[in-house]
C-alpha cells in the first residue's frame, strides 16, 4: 500500500496481529502514565518494556531513521531550552541545591540534571511505542480504531479520506508544479528565495481550486452512498478482539497501577533521591 507518511509495513508479528484499537488504547494509556510520573524507577521500567515491544515488532532501522533523527533533534532542543529558561526548576522541585558548576544564572545543579534526565526518559518511552503503533497498524484500521475509542465517525473517517487522497494531491501538485516551471517559475534550488516562494504560491492556486472541486465530488459520492445517515456505522476493517488484545489492555492497566503505586509510595509525582 502506498502510504509513505505512516509507512505501514504489513509484517506479520504478534504485534501486527493485534487490533488497531487495542494498540491505540495501550499507546494512549502508557503515554499518559509516563507523562504523569516523574519517578525514574518507573519510567525506566516502562522504557525497558517499550524497547522490548519495539524489538518484537521487527521494525527495521531504515524505516524510521528519518523520524527518529527528527525526534531526537527536537528532544535535545527542548531539553536545552528548558535549561536556558528555568535552570533552577530542579532545585525548586526537589527542595535542595547541589551545585555542579557555577555559571551565574545558568548554574547547573544535580537536581536540574536529574529533572532533565526524567524528561529525556519520558520522551524516550513514548517514541518506540508510538512508532510501533503507526508502523504495525494497517491504515485502513485507523479510522475504525479511532471511532471505537469514542472519536465520532465523521472525524475518524476524515483520517481515512486523507490517507486515500494524499497520493492524488501529491500527484496533482507535482504535475502542476512542472507545468508552472515550464512557464518560467523557478522553484528549484537555482532560484532566489523570493522567486521560489512566489513560484510555489502560483502552484497553490490551481492546486487548491482543483482540490476543492475534488472535495465536492467526494462528498457527493459519499452522500450518494449514505455516509452520515445513521448515528454510528460499522467498519469493514474492524476486527474482533482476540485473547492477545484483552491481554494487551490488561497489561496497560497493570502499568497504570504500577505507576499509581509509585506515586503513592513517593507521596507525589516526583521521586526525590536528594532527601
Amino acid at each position: 500500500m502506498n502510504n509513505s507518511i505512516f509507512g505501514y509495513d504489513g509484517n506479520d508479528t504478534w504485534i501486527h496481529k493485534l487490533t488497531g484499537t487495542s494498540k491505540l488504547i495501550f499507546f494512549i494509556l502508557v503515554s499518559i502514565i509516563s507523562m504523569i510520573s516523574y519517578d525514574v524507577r518507573f519510567t525506566l521500567l516502562v522504557l525497558v518494556l517499550s524497547a522490548f515491544i519495539f524489538q518484537q515488532s521487527k521494525i527495521k532501522w531504515q524505516q524510521i531513521k528519518l523520524v527518529v533523527k527528527l525526534i531526537v533533534i527536537f528532544a535535545i532542543l527542548n531539553l536545552i531550552t528548558v535549561y536556558i529558561f528555568s535552570p533552577g526548576h530542579g532545585s525548586y522541585l526537589y527542595g535542595t541545591r547541589h551545585v555542579i558548576f557555577n555559571f551565574g544564572y545558568l548554574t547547573m545543579t544535580q537536581e536540574q540534571l536529574f529533572y532533565e534526565l526524567n524528561l529525556a526518559i519520558k520522551y524516550l518511552v513514548t517514541v518506540p511505542i508510538s512508532l510501533v503503533f503507526l508502523i504495525t497498524t494497517n491504515p485502513s484500521e485507523f479510522s475504525a480504531s479511532l471511532n471505537q475509542i469514542g472519536v465520532p465517525y465523521r472525524f475518524s473517517y476524515a483520517v481515512s479520506l486523507a490517507l486515500r487522497y494524499i497520493p492524488d494531491v501529491q500527484q496533482d501538485f507535482q504535475s502542476i508544479s512542472l507545468a508552472q516551471q515550464a512557464r518560467g517559475y523557478e522553484i528549484s534550488k537555482k532560484g532566489k528565495v523570493m522567486d521560489r516562494i512566489k513560484g510555489t504560491s502560483q502552484i497553490l492556486v490551481p492546486l487548491i481550486l482543483s482540490s476543492l472541486d475534488k472535495i465536492q465530488v467526494i462528498s457527493q459520492a459519499m452522500e450518494l452512498r449514505r455516509f452520515g445517515k445513521n448515528k454510528s456505522r460499522t467498519w469493514y476493517m474492524h476486527r474482533k478482539f482476540s485473547k492477545n488484545d484483552y491481554l494487551t489492555l490488561l497489561f496497560a492497566m497493570l502499568i497504570i497501577l504500577i505507576g499509581i503505586l509509585f506515586i503513592k509510595i513517593d507521596g507525589s509525582r516526583f521521586f526525590n533521591p536528594f532527601k
Binding site: M1, N2, P139, S140, S160, L161, L163, R164, P167, D168, D172, S175, I176, L178, A179, Q180, Q181, A182, R183, G184, Y185, E186, S188, K190, Q202, I203, V205, P206, L209, S210, D213, K214, V217, I218, Q220, A221, M222, E223, L224, R225, R226, F227, G228, K229, N230, S232, R233, T234, W235, Y236, M237, H238
Partner: protein, 568 residues
C-alpha cells in the same frame, strides 16, 4: 418483465440559483421498470442535471427552484431523503477515481453497507459475492492508485450493486476509459441488465459506443428540453444528431457519404448487422480510394529520440525506444492506459530524465537543458486547463511566461495581442478567466504557451470528455495552428477517429516501447496492434471486415469526403 413506470417527470422545470435561465424546461418523461435508456445531449443540454434530479443530488445538495413532480418508484422525491433515494437509484459518477472513497477495493465496495451498519460477516460475504461477479476478486486488497480506470469503475459498480437498487444511473461511464476498457464497460452494463432486469440509465454523448449493445430507447436532449424519445434505429434515421452537437456513428457517416440511402437500411443501429439494398456496391466503390504512402522520416527531424531507456519503481517502461518526429507532423500518441504515453511526453518536456539515451531537438541534444529552457521550444499542455491557470485575468495569464523571462512591457503587449488573435480570444481579452467556457480555457492555456513561440506542442488528451461540437472546435483550432503556423504537434489520445481524422501519423506504445509507427488508418487495420494496445477498431473496420473491404481505404474515403465538405 413488469411494466410499471419507475421514473416519472411531470412538467418539471428546474433553475439553478446561480443561473438566470432554467436549465431544464418543462420535462415530461416516463421510464418503465426494467428499461435500458440512453440519455444523450451535448454539454449544457441539461442531461447531467436530469441525472442529478433522479439521484437526488438536486435539489438536496445543489440548490435551485424545482417545479413539477418527480416520482421515483411511485414516490415523490420531495418526500424522500437523499439516503432513501440512494437505495432506489445507484449512481456511478463520471470520474470513478474521485468516487473511490475507500483505501482498498474491498473497503470501497463495503462503504455503503458500513453506513447502513451492516455487520462484518455479512459485509464480507457480500463484498466477495459482488467482487466475484464483477471479476475483481483478486484486487480486493489493492489501493486505488494501483488500479486501471476500468478496474476502478468495476469497483464503483460493485459498491453500488451491493445495495441492489432497482435503478442504475451511469453518468458518462466512458469518459475516463481507454477504448477497449470503454467497450467492455458497456458490455458489462448490458450483462448486468440482462441478468438483473434492473432499470439502467446511461448518460453519454458517445452514442456509437453505447449503441454497441442494445438499448430500449434514447432520450435526446438539447438546451434544457427533450427533443424526442426514440428507438435507436429511428433516432439514427432521423439524421439529427449533428444538428444537436453530437456525432453520428462513423459507419453511418461512411454509408451516407458513399451515397447509401440510410432510410432503407435494416438494423441501422449496429455496424455488424446493418444491411440494405445497394449498400455493398456503393461501399465497394468507396473502397477504391487511394491511400497515402507510408511515412518517411525527414533527414532533419525536429525531434529525434535514440536508444531511450526509462524505468519507474523497478518497472521498465521504455527499453531502447527510438522515434523521430518530422517538422510539421501532427502525431497521435496512443496506447492503453498506463503504458507510458504521459511518461514519454514528460521525458520530452524534460519533467523527468531518461536513464540513458538521447533526445535531440533540431539536432541539439536536450541533455542538461532545464525545464524552463526547454519550454521556450517545447510547450506542454495538460489535460485539465484548470490545472494550468494561475491568474485571474486572461491577459495576465498569457503574458506570464514572457514576464518571467524578463521581456519588456511593449514587446509583451504586442506578443499577447498577436496570440490573442491567433487563439480567437481577442474579444475576451479583458474578461476574467472564470467567465470562459471549457473550450475557451483550453485555448487560453494553449495561448499562454504559444507566446513563447514553441516549435513543438505536446498535448495530453486535448479533447477528453468533450462532446462532438467542442471536440471539433478544439481540434480544428489545433489543425489551424499546425497548418498555418507550422507548429509540430504531439497529442495523446484515446479517440481512434480523432487520430485518423486529424493526425498524419500515429505512434502506438506497447510494453517497453513503440509497437507501430505509421499513418493512422494503417494502425486500425492491424488487428494485433489494436488488441495489444487496448485500442478499439472503429465501426468502419467492423463494416469493412464483414465485406472483406479495407478499413484503411474506407476511412480515407470518409475523411476526404468530409474535408471536401468543410472547404465548400
Amino acid at each position: 418483465m413488469e411494466n410499471k413506470s419507475i421514473i416519472e417527470f411531470r412538467n418539471v422545470t428546474f433553475q439553478y440559483n446561480s443561473q438566470l435561465e432554467p436549465t431544464l424546461k418543462n420535462i415530461n418523461l416516463n421510464i418503465k421498470s426494467g428499461e435500458k435508456v440512453l440519455i444523450v445531449g451535448s454539454s449544457g443540454s441539461g442531461k447531467s442535471t436530469l441525472g442529478n434530479l433522479i439521484n437526488g443530488i438536486i435539489p438536496r445538495n445543489v440548490k435551485g427552484s424545482l417545479q413539477g413532480d418527480i416520482l421515483i418508484d411511485g414516490k415523490n422525491i420531495q418526500s424522500m431523503s437523499l439516503f432513501d433515494l440512494s437505495l432506489k437509484v445507484g449512481t456511478l459518477l463520471q470520474n470513478s477515481n474521485d468516487q473511490f472513497v475507500g483505501l482498498t477495493v474491498a473497503e470501497d465496495i463495503a462503504f455503503g453497507m458500513e453506513n447502513d451498519c451492516v455487520n462484518n460477516a455479512e459485509m464480507k460475504t457480500k463484498v466477495n459475492q459482488w467482487a466475484d461477479y464483477l471479476d475483481i476478486k483478486n484486487l480486493l486488497q489493492q489501493a486505488p492508485n494501483q488500479l486501471s480506470g476500468g478496474q476502478k469503475q468495476r469497483t464503483g459498480l460493485a459498491g453500488i450493486m451491493v445495495d441492489e437498487a432497482p435503478i442504475l444511473l451511469l453518468d458518462e461511464p466512458l469518459a475516463a476509459l481507454d477504448p477497449a476498457a470503454g467497450f467492455s464497460s458497456i458490455k458489462l452494463v448490458d450483462d448486468i441488465h440482462q441478468k438483473l432486469h434492473n432499470t439502467v440509465l446511461i448518460i453519454e454523448h458517445r452514442i456509437e459506443e453505447v449503441l454497441n449493445q442494445s438499448v430500449d430507447k434514447v432520450i435526446l436532449m438539447n438546451d434544457g428540453e427533450i427533443v424526442g424519445i426514440f428507438k435507436p434505429d429511428n433516432l439514427l434515421k432521423e439524421n439529427i444528431l449533428q444538428k444537436y452537437g453530437l456525432r453520428n456513428p462513423l459507419y453511418l457517416d461512411l454509408l451516407k457519404s458513399a451515397g447509401v440511402d440510410i432510410q432503407k437500411l435494416e438494423h441501422i443501429a449496429s455496424a455488424s448487422l446493418v444491411n440494405g439494398n445497394g449498400m455493398l456496391p456503393k461501399l465497394q466503390l468507396a473502397n477504391q480510394q487511394r491511400i497515402p504512402n507510408a511515412i518517411k522520416n525527414d533527414q532533419n527531424p525536429i525531434l529525434k529520440i535514440q536508444h531511450l531507456n526509462f524505468s519507474y519503481n523497478q518497472k521498465t517502461i521504455f527499453k531502447n525506444l527510438n522515434l523521430s518526429v518530422n517538422h510539421g507532423d501532427m502525431l497521435a500518441l496512443v496506447g492503453k492506459n498506463g503504458v507510458g504515453k504521459s511518461t514519454l511526453s514528460k521525458l520530452i518536456a524534460g519533467f523527468i530524465k531518461p536513464h540513458s539515451g538521447s533526445i535531440c531537438l533540431n539536432g541539439d541534444s536536450l541533455d542538461g537543458v532545464t525545464i524552463k529552457e526547454r519550454a521556450d521550444k517545447i510547450g506542454y499542455i495538460m489535460q485539465d486547463p484548470d490545472k494550468m491557470i494561475s491568474k485571474v485575468m486572461i491577459k495576465d495569464e498569457i503574458a506570464l511566461g514572457l514576464q518571467l523571462r524578463g521581456f519588456d512591457a511593449d514587446y509583451i503587449d504586442q506578443k499577447v495581442t498577436e496570440v490573442l488573435k491567433v487563439c480567437h480570444l481577442y474579444e475576451f481579452r479583458n474578461w476574467p478567466i472564470s467567465a470562459l467556457s471549457y473550450g475557451q480555457k483550453k485555448r487560453l492555456t494553449i495561448a499562454s504557451i504559444l507566446v513563447l513561440d514553441p516549435q513543438l506542442l505536446i498535448l495530453d488528451e486535448p479533447t477528453a470528455g468533450q462532446d462532438y461540437y467542442h471536440y471539433t472546435e478544439i481540434m480544428q483550432f489545433l489543425q489551424d495552428l499546425n497548418q498555418k503556423h507550422h507548429i509540430t504537434m504531439i497529442f495523446v489520445t484515446h479517440d481512434m477517429y480523432l487520430m485518423t481524422e486529424y493526425a498524419n501519423r500515429a505512434v502506438v506504445l506497447g510494453n517497453y516501447g513503440i509497437l507501430k509507427d505509421d499513418y493512422p488508418e494503417a494502425i486500425l487495420d492491424d488487428d494485433e496492434v489494436v488488441l495489444a494496445a487496448h485500442l478499439k477498431s472503429t465501426s468502419i473496420s467492423t463494416l469493412a471486415r464483414r465485406f472483406n473491404l479495407s478499413a484503411d481505404r474506407l476511412t480515407h474515403y470518409l475523411i476526404s469526403k468530409e474535408s471536401n465538405n468543410k472547404h465548400e
